[in-house]
Symmetry: C2
Subunit: 327 residues, 2 copies
């Protein structure tokens, strides 16, 4: 019997295991135009935390008791749609379950780029696009810029580091713990800050970037954002991708350096990758030329049963690179 | 004997009278190309607080013991420069003193617009330009937008309100106390919030703008900025002009709604009016067409001796409209 994860109740602050429930999810006969997909890889991403709240946002809230959703890669096992045949590998949004029945227009065949299928949930998927568009379109980072990126060992951050280096930028990455920092260094980052070991992020960032930063790619918010404000050069651009530090917190963000926005004419721009899909061809084309040089890490959790654990691990920094569930 | 105000010591937090010293400032014989100006009106502006710190910023810090500077309007009483004659009214930056000797290229004759001379220190001067460029160039406010402006009874804010109304926008202004609020209402604002009387700015702003705000013109920072974040519509633009709430505070700004930057794709842009001087002709041209309709208030303090008092009054909200010192 296929199964799916549902939201049993809405989390208050940090989600806990009891907020999730794994239910039987019978797979109906296919209607015209539909596909049956055996999911092979499921994605957990920080933005899903927002969908667990009952608040209007860019993505609809998960309904209580209904299967949750998210990016997934799977194999077509039955097709009632033109253009798809059993054995096709596709990506789609009916994640958090082992078997999906969806209309064919909601599935996309994996692009012909020579990477493993699960890479299309990470560096060659939504997180990679987020890195690419956030850095180049939103922050308008240019060769010669000094770029600061937080959560630099994550799926998005590690791709920001590598694209920035490939484009001739100076890169300062922040990550938690020596293992992650070593990995970020191996990606080519010029400076790596271990935020768990630094007393003051402002001091550490000022030392790494004595002339200041031109770009901040924010994945975490909070003290990292404040340090970026403190060290921003004139006309610095901040691309605000995520604020994982505060998704589960009721505490306000405390910013000591926010008035620097004025004198330094800082631009802070929030963004969603979905707004940039008109340019996804540029992303695939440019990333395909870098396939051999790009490094990827995956933190893989096995089996549908462990999926909430994998999700919760995002907030304790358990993942290096992309957090994935393998079925 | 001409006199000038100097900074006796650098303020710690809120400035006090003892931070200033009035000194004799003998006026030398004119060199070639110089003018002697009897100042008639002196400006005090919140940005001057930043120049009292010994910190690198967009304007150099005031030197201890040296005459302070700022916008002023005066009458040429002696000229050793082509193109200027006694009786000419000019604006310049050698304020905080009763008599100025400057090179002629640092003085500008008042534009031929039919307003009193001191208006060129307010609505037709730097504060007016700040309103105009901040609203139209930085925030890119458009007809039909809902605009929230803080310190709406101040020199900048009151001009923002009126330009926005003239351009067909819906305007919500915030000010402190019933007298200021009445005045902001008289400028045409659709809604006025008395921030001193409201329990929650977020609730008050949400009620005034049930569909949210498109533009926030920030003069104060702090809780006003947080309320703007809470109520911002998708793709809202914030022009950050000033943060008078925090200039004298060592406390960090607490933002409860900052993560809305992401989902709503908010753009927050700090700016300095000096970056927009290439377009100053547009400002004068457009403001000249509105002369008859624009309302102005001035809070006038008489005499050079009272100038620090006038300056300090900015931080307790003593001014309605432009705070000026008349000599």
């Amino acid at each position: 019997m296929p199964r799916a994860w549902t939201l049993a109740r809405r989390p208050d602050g940090m989600p806990v295991a009891e907020d999730f429930a794994l239910i039987d999810h019978p797979s109906p006969p296919l209607e015209a135009g539909q596909l049956r997909i055996a999911n092979r890889w499921l994605s957990v991403d920080p933005y899903m935390r927002g969908r667990m709240n009952d608040a209007k946002s860019y993505a609809a809230p998960f309904a209580l008791g209904e299967p949750m959703g998210g990016h997934a890669v799977g194999e077509v096992i039955e097709s009632n749609a033109d253009g798809f045949a059993p054995g096709d590998m596709v990506q789609h949004m009916a994640g958090w379950r082992d078997e999906a029945v969806i209309v064919a227009r909601e599935a996309t065949k994996l692009p012909p780029i020579d990477v493993p299928p699960q890479a299309f949930l990470g560096q060659f998927g939504m997180p990679g696009m987020t890195a690419y568009f956030g850095l180049l379109h939103v922050a308008e980072a240019r060769p010669g810029d000094t770029v600061f990126v937080s959560a630099a060992a994550g799926a998005v951050g590690s791709t920001v580091v590598q694209i920035a280096k490939a484009k001739g930028m100076t890169v300062i990455g922040s990550a938690g713990g020596p293992e992650k920092c070593d990995w970020v260094r191996s990606l080519g980052a010029d400076h790596v800050l271990d935020y768990k070991a630094e007393g003051s992020l402002v001091k550490a960032l000022s030392a790494a970037a004595p002339d200041g930063i031109d770009v901040y790619f924010d994945n975490v918010g909070g003290a990292h954002l404040d340090a970026a404000l403190a060290t921003a050069r004139e006309r610095a651009r901040f691309a605000i991708c995520g604020m994982i530090d505060i998704y589960n917190s009721a505490e306000p963000t405390r910013l000591r350096y926010i008035a620097r926005i004025i004198a330094a004419r800082i631009r802070i721009q929030g963004f969603l990758v979905s707004d940039h899909m008109a340019h996804v061809g540029d992303f695939y084309r440019e990333m395909a030329t870098m396939v051999g040089r790009l490094k990827r890490e995956e933190t893989v959790v096995d089996g549908l049963d462990a999926m909430p654990d994998a999700f919760l691990g995002l907030f304790s920094g358990r993942n290096m690179g992309k957090m994935l569930v393998r079925l």
